[in-house]
C-alpha cells in the first residue's frame, strides 16, 4: 500500500482518502458485521481432523488489495502466455515429448511423478484443452515486479472467495464503490460456464449439460462446489449419481438417466475412476476413463495435469514457456534450487537458515521449512530429511514479499500477501477475470498464507483505469 518512502502508492490514493474520512470504530463494527454475513450465508470451509469446529470461517480482512489497471494488463499478458505454454507442454508430455528429446527437461522429472498418467498418452482432450481452469499464485517483490510462486493446474480452489469477498465489501461499503471504480468479478461463473461449454466433446448438443462433481458435503471446499454449480446453473453431482450407460456418463435424475457432456470435477485424478485408478474410491465413476478416451465426455481439468503442480517442474517453467511460445517468459519464477542437483543441494544445506525448503509434491503449506523463522532443532530435523531424499525437495530464497495492511485491534498493520488470479482456457481463448483471491498471512512477519494454516483473505481490486 505504501511506497518505500512512506507515501501512499497511486492505486491506493482514493481508498486512503476515503478511509481518512471514516470515524474510528467503523472498521471494527464492519468486521463483526461481515462475520455474521459469512456465517449466515454458510461460507465456511471444513478443516480435516478438527471435530469441534466442523465448519470454520476463513478470516476476512476488510482492507482491499488494490492493483492498478496498468499493472493488471501487464500481469494478464504474462499469465496468458504461461497458461498457453502449460497447455502446449501438457499436450507434448502426453504425445511426442519434444521438450525431453531436445534435452531441455530431464525425463526423470515426470517418470517419477505420480501425477503423470500413462492413460493419457496419445490422447488429446476435447478442444485440445488440458487446464480449463488454472490458478496462478503470484507474489509481488517490488513496484511492478510480480513473480510466479506456483501453478495450480489440478483443481484450483478459492474462486468462491473472490466472488463472495466482493459481495461482502459491496454490502459493507456501498459508498466506497461509487468513489473507486473497480472492475467487476461477478460474471466469473457465467464465463466459466461459457468456457466449459466451448470445450464440450464432439457430438454434444448445442447447449451441453455441465455438471460439477463434488466429493460431497463433508469436503472442505463443498461450499465452493455448490456455489459454482448454483451460479452456473449446472447440476451438482456426486459419484453415486453418475453411471456409465450406453457408452456415456449419465446422471440419475428423477425420471431416469441423462447424459453429462462436461464434467467439472472437484475430485482428484486418483479418485476419478475406480476401474482405472484407486479401486477403493467411492467418489468417482467406474468406467469414466473409457468414455473419456472415446471422446464422449469432457473432464475439466483433464486428468494428468497435476504434473504441472510439481515444484521441480515449476523450476523449469521459464524454459517451458520459451520452448513452446518462442518468447521469453513475461512473468519470472522465484529463484529455485533443485536439491536433486548436487551443487544446489550443497548450497541449500549450508544456507538452510536463510531459505524456504519445500517438498516437490507438497501443497497447502505443509511439509516445508521456513529457515528464518525456524528453531535450530527444526532446522536440524529438516536437514536430516533433506539429506535422506534430496530429489524430493526444492529451495527458494525468503522473498521480501510486498505487504498490504490488515485491520487489527491496534489499527492497520502490514502483512504479507499473495494473489491467485483464475484463468479460463477454451478453444475460444484464454479468459482472465480481473481480480483473484488475495491470501494474507495474519500473523506478524509470517509468510504462510494458506487458509489451512490460519491465513485469511482479502478482496482484490483491479481498478478501471
Amino acid at each position: 500500500m505504501h511506497a518505500p518512502d512512506g507515501s501512499v502508492r497511486g492505486p491506493y490514493a482514493e481508498y486512503q482518502a476515503w478511509l481518512d474520512e471514516q470515524e474510528a470504530g467503523l472498521m471494527r463494527r464492519k468486521t463483526s458485521e461481515a462475520e455474521g454475513f459469512f456465517r449466515k450465508t454458510g461460507i465456511t470451509f471444513n478443516v480435516y481432523g478438527e471435530e469441534d469446529a466442523e465448519e470454520r470461517l476463513i478470516p476476512f480482512d476488510m482492507v482491499p488489495r488494490i492493483i492498478s489497471g496498468g499493472e493488471w494488463r501487464r500481469l494478464s499478458r504474462g499469465i496468458e502466455q504461461r497458461v498457453r505454454a502449460l497447455n502446449a507442454f501438457m499436450h507434448d508430455l502426453y504425445h511426442r515429448q519434444e521438450i525431453i528429446r531436445s534435452g531441455r527437461l530431464p525425463e526423470r522429472l515426470f517418470r517419477n511423478n505420480a501425477a503423470w498418467l500413462p492413460q493419457m498418452v496419445g490422447f488429446t482432450p476435447p478442444g485440445g484443452v488440458y487446464t480449463h481452469i488454472t490458478g496462478i499464485d503470484l507474489v509481488r517483490t517490488g513496484p511492478d515486479e510480480f513473480l510466479v510462486l506456483e501453478d495450480n493446474a489440478r483443481t484450483p480452489s478459492g474462486v468462491s472467495y473472490m466472488l463472495e469477498n466482493r459481495e461482502t465489501m459491496m454490502a459493507m461499503f456501498p459508498e466506497l464503490f461509487s468513489r473507486v471504480k473497480v472492475c467487476p468479478v461477478s460474471d466469473y461463473p457465467r464465463r466459466l460456464a461459457k468456457s466449459l461449454a466451448a470445450c464440450a466433446p464432439e457430438g454434444a448438443p448445442d447447449k451441453p449439460t455441465i455438471a460439477v462433481l463434488t466429493p460431497g458435503i463433508f469436503n472442505s471446499a463443498y461450499y465452493e462446489h455448490a456455489f459454482l454449480a448454483d451460479q452456473m446453473g449446472a447440476e451438482l453431482v456426486e459419484g453415486s449419481d453418475l453411471r456409465v450407460v450406453d457408452g456415456k456418463v449419465q446422471m440419475r435424475t428423477t425420471i431416469g438417466f441423462k447424459p453429462v457432456d462436461v464434467l467439472y470435477r472437484r475430485v482428484d485424478d486418483d479418485f476419478l475412476d475406480p476401474l482405472t485408478f484407486n479401486p477403493d474410491s467411492m467418489l468417482g465413476v467406474p468406467g469414466i476413463m473409457d468414455v473419456y478416451r472415446a471422446g464422449r465426455i469432457t473432464i475439466a481439468n483433464a486428468p494428468g495435469t497435476g504434473v504441472a503442480d510439481d515444484k521441480a517442474i515449476y523450476s523449469f517453467m521459464p524454459e517451458i514457456v520459451e520452448f513452446y511460445t518462442g518468447e521469453k517468459a513475461l512473468l519470472p519464477n522465484v529463484q529455485t534450487w533443485r536439491c536433486a542437483d548436487p551443487d544446489s543441494l550443497k548450497y541449500v544445506l549450508s544456507n538452510l537458515e536463510e531459505l524456504v525448503v519445500k517438498e516437490v509434491h507438497g501443497s497447502g503449506g505443509y511439509g516445508m521449512l521456513i529457515g528464518p523463522t525456524s528453531s535450530k532443532k527444526e532446522i536440524q530435523e529438516f536437514r536430516a530429511k533433506l539429506e535422506a531424499d534430496p530429489e524430493n525437495y526444492i529451495a527458494q530464497p525468503t522473498l521480501s514479499l510486498s505487504t498490504c495492511p490488515i485491520f487489527t485491534k491496534k489499527g492497520l498493520a502490514p502483512r504479507h500477501v499473495d494473489l491467485r488470479p483464475f484463468v479460463l482456457c477454451s478453444p475460444d481463448g484464454v479468459d482472465i477475470t480481473p481480480g483473484g483471491l488475495t491470501r494474507v498471512a495474519l500473523k506478524k512477519g509470517s509468510l504462510v498464507v494458506n487458509s489451512s494454516q490460519g491465513g485469511g483473505t482479502k478482496d482484490s481490486w483491479v481498478l478501471e483505469d
Binding site: K40, I217, Y222, A226, A234, L236, S240, T253
Partner: protein, 314 residues
C-alpha cells in the same frame, strides 16, 4: 433434477415439519400440565412421549416425568437420536446437499434458524427458557416455508418440498389423534368428563386447531366432531383430507412436468378416493384407531413409492 437432490429436498421439509409438530406438541403438553395435578401431568407427558415414539427410550433413562426433563429429552438429549435439534440439523444438512436447487433465501432461513437454535439449546432446557426454544423451532419452520413460497421456482424442487411437508404433516396429525384417543381413553367412562375435555383441548392445541375448531363448533367438544374436523375438514391446513388434496395437486404437477405418471400416482389416487368418500360415521363404525393405523401405514407406503419412483436412491 437429480434423484439424490429430490430426496434431500423431500427430507429437508419432512424434518422441518417434524420439528415444528414436535415443538407444538410440547407446547400444548406444557400448557396442560400447568393446570393439572401431578398425576395428570405425568400422564400427559407419557402421552406426548408415546406420540413421538419415545416412551421406551425415555423410560430406559428416567423414572420420573418432570416437564423440563421431558422437554430437554425431546429437544436436545444426546442419547435421543430423534431430538428436535438433530431434526433441524438434518434439515440443514439436506439443504446443504440440495444447495444448488434451493434459493439463497431459503438456505439462509434454515441456516440462521439452525444457528439460533443450536445456540439456545447449548444448555439444558429449563421451564424459563422452554418457550423461547419452542418458539425458535416454529420460527425456523415458518421462515423456511415463507421463503420457499416467496422465492422458489414452481418446478420439481418445489414439488418435492410440498410432498415432504404434507406426507409428514398427515402422519403427525394421525398420530396425535390416535394416541389421545387410544392411549388416554381406555374406558368410555372418561368420555364427557372435564379431563376428557382438557385432553381434547390439548389435541387441538397440538395441531394449532383450537381457534378454528371453536369458531366452527361453538362450544361443542366431543370426539366425533373433533375427529371429523381433523380428518375430513378440507379447510383446515393440518387435516388429513387437506394434506391429501395438497399431495394430489403436487403429484399432478409432477406428472405434468415429466409428461407421465409414476406408480405412486395410482397408489395416491386410490388412497385419496377412499379418504374422501368416507364419513365420520363410517370411521367410528369401523373404529377410529383402526382407521388411523391404516392411514399411517398407507401414508408410509405412498412415501416409499415416491422415493423409489423418483429414484431417491441408486
Amino acid at each position: 433434477m437429480l434423484g439424490r437432490t429430490a430426496s434431500a429436498i423431500f427430507w429437508m421439509y419432512r424434518y422441518l415439519e417434524r420439528a415444528e409438530n414436535t415443538a407444538r406438541l410440547l407446547e400444548a403438553g406444557h400448557r396442560m400440565t400447568m393446570t393439572r395435578s401431578e398425576d395428570m401431568a405425568v400422564q400427559e407427558w407419557r402421552s406426548v412421549l408415546a406420540t413421538l415414539g419415545l416412551q421406551q427410550a425415555y423410560e430406559a433413562k428416567y423414572s420420573d416425568f418432570g416437564g423440563a426433563q421431558v422437554c430437554d429429552f425431546v429437544l436436545r438429549a444426546k442419547d435421543n437420536s430423534e431430538n428436535v435439534l438433530s431434526m433441524i440439523e438434518r434439515a440443514r444438512t439436506n439443504a446443504r446437499a440440495a444447495r444448488s436447487s434451493i434459493t439463497g433465501e431459503v438456505w439462509e432461513a434454515i441456516n440462521e434458524g439452525w444457528m439460533t437454535l443450536s445456540n439456545l439449546l447449548k444448555k439444558p432446557v429449563s421451564s424459563g427458557t422452554l418457550n423461547q426454544s419452542l418458539g425458535a423451532v416454529r420460527r425456523v419452520s415458518t421462515m423456511v416455508r415463507g421463503t420457499t413460497h416467496g422465492s422458489m421456482l414452481r418446478n420439481e424442487a418445489y414439488s418435492f418440498s410440498r410432498l415432504g411437508t404434507f406426507i409428514e404433516r398427515a402422519d403427525k396429525t394421525a398420530r396425535i389423534l390416535d394416541v389421545k384417543y387410544y392411549l388416554l381413553l381406555p374406558s368410555l367412562s372418561y368420555v364427557g368428563t372435564p379431563l376428557d375435555t382438557g385432553q381434547w383441548d390439548t389435541v387441538l392445541r397440538s395441531l394449532s386447531a383450537e381457534r378454528a375448531y371453536r369458531w366452527l363448533n361453538a362450544g361443542r367438544m366431543d370426539a366425533r366432531s373433533i375427529a371429523d374436523f381433523l380428518i375430513l375438514d378440507d379447510r383446515f391446513p393440518r387435516s388429513l383430507v387437506f394434506c391429501y388434496s395438497e399431495l394430489r395437486d403436487t403429484m399432478a404437477d409432477l406428472a405434468k412436468f415429466h409428461g407421465s405418471e409414476a406408480e405412486a400416482h395410482e397408489h395416491m389416487r386410490q388412497f385419496d378416493m377412499r379418504l374422501r368418500d368416507t364419513s365420520v360415521e363410517n370411521i367410528f363404525d369401523r373404529g377410529l384407531h383402526e382407521f388411523l393405523l391404516d392411514f399411517i401405514a398407507n401414508n408410509q407406503l405412498l412415501a416409499s413409492a415416491i422415493g423409489s419412483d423418483y429414484r431417491f436412491n441408486s
